[in-house]
């Protein structure tokens, strides 16, 4: 290992842009989000309900047909797990912030899995596993995950 200065080439300049096709199952899910509704789909074999909807149930490897087994779900749920984090991350970098953010795993009523969203207008002290929460919708929805601003106390 040489002592002299290592040439640290300057930073990369180019940035690659991507646009992920969401598939027809998620397309239906986002259409519902746009009208402030939550839909999931149900595995015909084991009855699990998935939010967001999936083409294949991982437990029984059963393909769920696109045009069947849709389930309308309420926008309320139960908090199954939570964490309070001081980090903000995006595709470019991550940094620590002063104000923490509470992120929770919420099981939508009627579904058999939980989704990860931030909790709004709840103090860290008040958060308890098992508490009832409901969706805090954006006013102007765009049909993407940010339509759900977060979950607040039900």
């Amino acid at each position: 290992m040489t002592e002299e200065k290592i040439v640290v080439a300057n930073k990369g300049i180019i940035r690659a842009e991507f646009a992920f096709w969401v598939g027809q199952y998620m397309d239906k899910f986002y259409d519902a989000l746009e009208n402030k509704k939550i839909v999931g789909n149900k595995c015909p074999k084991c009855g699990d309900v998935f939010v967001p909807p999936r083409k294949i149930c991982g437990k029984c490897n059963e393909t769920i047909p696109l045009d069947q087994n849709w389930v309308d779900l309420p926008d309320t749920g139960i908090l199954k797990n939570y964490t309070i984090t001081y980090y903000k991350i995006n595709d470019r970098a991550s940094r620590k912030v002063k104000k923490p953010q509470i992120i929770g795993m919420v099981q939508i009523d009627g579904s058999s899995t939980s989704i990860v969203y931030r909790l709004l207008n709840i103090e860290p002290g008040e958060v308890k596993i098992g508490m009832k929460v409901k969706v805090n919708w954006e006013e102007a929805t765009k049909g993407d995950p940010s339509d759900i601003k977060g979950f607040s106390k039900a």
Partner: protein, 380 residues
């Protein structure tokens, strides 16, 4: 399973910002492994590397590392997971009878990739990535809380593991200097900055710069190369489902199944008594407890009661584990190397007494979604 042995190894000292070029570090690791076994470049028939295009910041990250990694005119491939998974592919290549000496190397440089962002790239891009709530940071918090809630474990009991590993790292000369802390206390761990409640900074295995390499050979060649070969008698791996909502984060289903597969191959039915030392890749302090319980070494919820110190009844991570330095793509490989050192009695400063059977593990994915476990045995 036919007998394949690890006949040589080498690990470059871990740094947070190494004064090394990338190729120089790879060369030093692989060259050192060859020297450790007294072999030359022409003995190599196959090279399996473990790098990741996003940790290296370039596409086809193995096309330019062919030469420093010893792959020139050799049968070369790359496993884009943890170094321990690359050892699996090297083992397969030797077991197939086509290759007499496999070089397996892996590593990355935390000083060159944006921390945490590279793990955000691993999330579901159609759902979780645009809103960035799921990350390696928040998933660690979910895992620890799930474990604590399920078995009523206090943060102090988990912090004990962090103290043990960071103290063990002190007498490991290759560990990360920033991770070594001879007089660390429970209070230091619990009051270090919050990473993602309840996980604190000192419970996290800090990514760093590092490359490691090891050599695999079949039985006949292994006995010629070294009189102290370490046999791989069992290997097992498994991958859980992806969505955190589908998983029971208080335990590790993947480690449980990996353990079952590896122990069955090695003829181990009671790991707690038959295994002498464990080197597990714990990305966070609580994961070490979850892994011991999932492997059946301790009962569920009783991982913290196990005396895992170097002199204890079941030493875990005498080398300091991943908490002693976590170079992505190399940490799992380094755990295997540390297990080999324990068996060959070459772990100066942190040697566990009369080790004949050891286990080593590697992992990849959020909350260790994919775990791989090795059972290693010496000759004595």
């Amino acid at each position: 399973m036919e007998k394949v042995a690890i006949v040589g190894y080498n690990q470059v000292k871990l740094y947070s910002d190494a004064n090394y070029g990338r190729y120089e570090m790879i060369f030093e690791a692989v060259r050192g492994a060859l020297d450790n076994a007294g072999l030359k470049k022409k003995d190599i028939t196959t090279v399996v590397s473990a790098t990741n295009d996003y940790y290296d910041g370039r596409t086809i990250s193995n096309s330019l590392t062919v030469e420093p990694g010893g792959g020139y005119l050799a049968d070369e491939s790359k496993v884009e997971m943890d170094g321990a998974h690359a050892v699996l592919y090297g083992l397969m290549r030797v077991l197939s009878g086509n290759h007499k000496l496999a070089v397996v190397w892996g590593g990355s440089m935390a000083s060159s990739y944006p921390a945490h962002t590279v793990h955000l790239y691993e999330t579901d891009p159609t759902w979780e990535r645009p809103i960035t709530y799921v990350s390696d940071i928040t998933s660690a918090g979910f895992q620890m809380r799930a474990y604590m809630e399920k078995y009523g474990i206090s943060a102090e009991e988990i912090a004990k593991t962090a103290v043990k590993n960071r103290k063990n790292a002190v007498n490991n000369p290759l560990a990360l200097a920033e991770a070594q802390n001879p007089n660390i206390t429970l209070k230091d761990v619990l009051e270090s900055d919050i990473y993602s409640d309840p996980v604190t900074e000192l419970m996290v295995a800090q990514p760093c710069d590092g490359v490691a390499a090891l050599l695999l050979a079949p039985e006949k060649q292994a006995k010629k190369i070294t009189d102290n070969p370490v046999w791989i008698t069992g290997v097992g791996l498994s991958q859980e489902t992806y969505y955190l909502g589908d998983r029971d984060l208080s335990t590790s289903k993947s480690m449980e199944l990996a353990g079952k597969m590896a122990f069955q191959a090695a003829g181990i039915n009671d790991p707690n008594t038959q295994i002498d030392v464990a080197e597990l890749y714990e990305a966070f302090a609580h994961e070490e407890l979850i892994f011991i319980e999932s492997l059946g070494i301790a009962e569920k919820g009783k991982g913290a009661d196990l005396n895992a110190e170097i002199g204890g009844d079941f030493p875990v991570n005498p080398s300091g584990g991943a908490l002693g330095g976590n170079p992505l793509c190399a940490t799992g490989l380094i755990r295997i190397i540390e297990a080999v050192k324990q068996i060959r009695g070459e772990a100066k400063g942190y040697q566990v007494k009369n080790v004949n059977k050891a286990i080593a593990s590697g992992q990849i994915g959020m909350c260790s979604q994919n775990n791989i476990l090795y059972v290693l045995e010496g000759d004595n």
